[in-house]
Symmetry: C2
Subunit: 328 residues, 2 copies
Amino acid sequence: MSQTIKVGIVGYGNLGRGVELAIRQNPDLELVAIFTRREPGNLNSAQGGAKFEHISAAEQYKGKIDVMILCGGSATDLPEQTPAIASMFNTVDSFDTHAKIPEFYEAVDAAAKRSGTLSVISTGWDPGLFSLNRLLAEAILPEGKDYTFWGKGVSQGHSDAIRRVPGVKAGVQYTVPVQSVIDRIRSGETPELATREKHLRQCFVVAEEGADQERIRAEIVGMPNYFADYDTTVTFITEEELRAEHAGMPHGGFVIRSGVTGAGTKQIVEFGLKLESNPEFTASVLVAYARAAHRLSEQGQSGARTVFDIPLGLLSPKSADELRRDLL
Amino acid sequence: MSQTIKVGIVGYGNLGRGVELAIRQNPDLELVAIFTRREPGNLNSAQGGAKFEHISAAEQYKGKIDVMILCGGSATDLPEQTPAIASMFNTVDSFDTHAKIPEFYEAVDAAAKRSGTLSVISTGWDPGLFSLNRLLAEAILPEGKDYTFWGKGVSQGHSDAIRRVPGVKAGVQYTVPVQSVIDRIRSGETPELATREKHLRQCFVVAEEGADQERIRAEIVGMPNYFADYDTTVTFITEEELRAEHAGMPHGGFVIRSGVTGAGTKQIVEFGLKLESNPEFTASVLVAYARAAHRLSEQGQSGARTVFDIPLGLLSPKSADELRRDLL
């Protein structure tokens, strides 16, 4: 009954540190060890006291860990790690390369079914909570149109793109939803929107000494895929300003569905997040789904699952009776 | 595969008419008949063409209807109807007397288990979608505080209370959330709020000729349970104004959780609805859960379920593959 759920973390970047912090907020969960590809002796835990192990030692924890929370990146880490770890443990990950989710699902599902484990893939807030809300609103309002806005928040991919421009020493990019468009949708309009109309891109750039700022600006705003389709602003700042004002990782966004029922009756469903730390929030979602993964596994289930497959009651430490009494 | 889900409606007030309209928006669902305690020959269908039956004929539809959507009231209809109908059919209802949900659940669960049927109880938007969002946000942000605001919308109970005041011919009451408080919460504050601080109550009243308006006003604003704990405004209008401007049934509201992760990092999760018709939207939620009830029953499950127990993927007509590909 009061047995804790034993959790391992694989990968110790911003997300892994967030998971360590989130586990402390959930007394029914217990952190057993953090697994890393680095030299484990060199790492310091965000909270102090965590045990570090090299990833190659994971197998020795079979039977001692109920769920592994995988905190690697979607580009190269997770496509390898999730199926490998799923052959030994229940897992939760935040795989977010939308176009590759079907093949990722198949690979993880096969590995988990072979070994009788359960894997929750692609959770977090998008994919994750935003996906749940897109599904929910579409199922309830089949005649309608939905909009996803991201931000205001730091986009890692776009920040990396800025930093690859010659003459750029450092920089950060914010994705900013266009407020006037959100207001139109909230008031019941259902506009067709070009990419440029939904989001702005704000870049804060530290240039190398003597670099040509106008050339840098032109290279950024014209960069295909990243900036060319958007209204982009470039502001040059000092390294001190970057450190003082742009060190956080805020993010958020909205999923809005505007639909009709009956004879054109307007109905609007909206879900929104305003996050001071993107990785800490994503980590908190992963931790709640780790609880669900363990429970599904205890029920004898195996294979891959997404947020669409999991009753939300399994995310809460409360019993079904308590949930009906206190939260319904 | 392309077999439609056969649906019956029990009760034909605003909610039942909404369900009839919502079924038309979902090609995988088919309305078989509407059951009523009134004389069925006297009823006209919102869309035309629906078949009406007296409620006593329901038993003859065993095997011909997959799910009954129960559209009666929570005070006296559903506590009797849901267990009775659950002994013959899968059911969905919107039982919303919060304090009595545990005993209602037990009664329906027993009836449904005895007869091998499945009953989704207490769905709609509150209880229902708001409950889901309270649970989700609390599970993800265990350290935090949540707020539910209703409105702007018509409260049937409060409108009825106004109409019981001597000298009142007709009237309608709007529950209005206090915008300045919502703004404070959205900006990260977590105030302790008295009832009076969260909602205003706006009453539009048609007085009988010669009635003392000041006495009516005083009786309304001082009415215990309904108005005494709120800031209440009373505006006297004509019957024509009531018909022209207050015939709709708009509603909506917000569930907001403001929590912290890590070392005091603020994270805000918000879900909101803006509805031109409360009964049509509630009906649309019931219809989506009817699809889920049928699918769970097809899996061989029986007993009572709430929104907390049901994977959201079951609400959508799309397959799990499509959902992963298009909505995750």
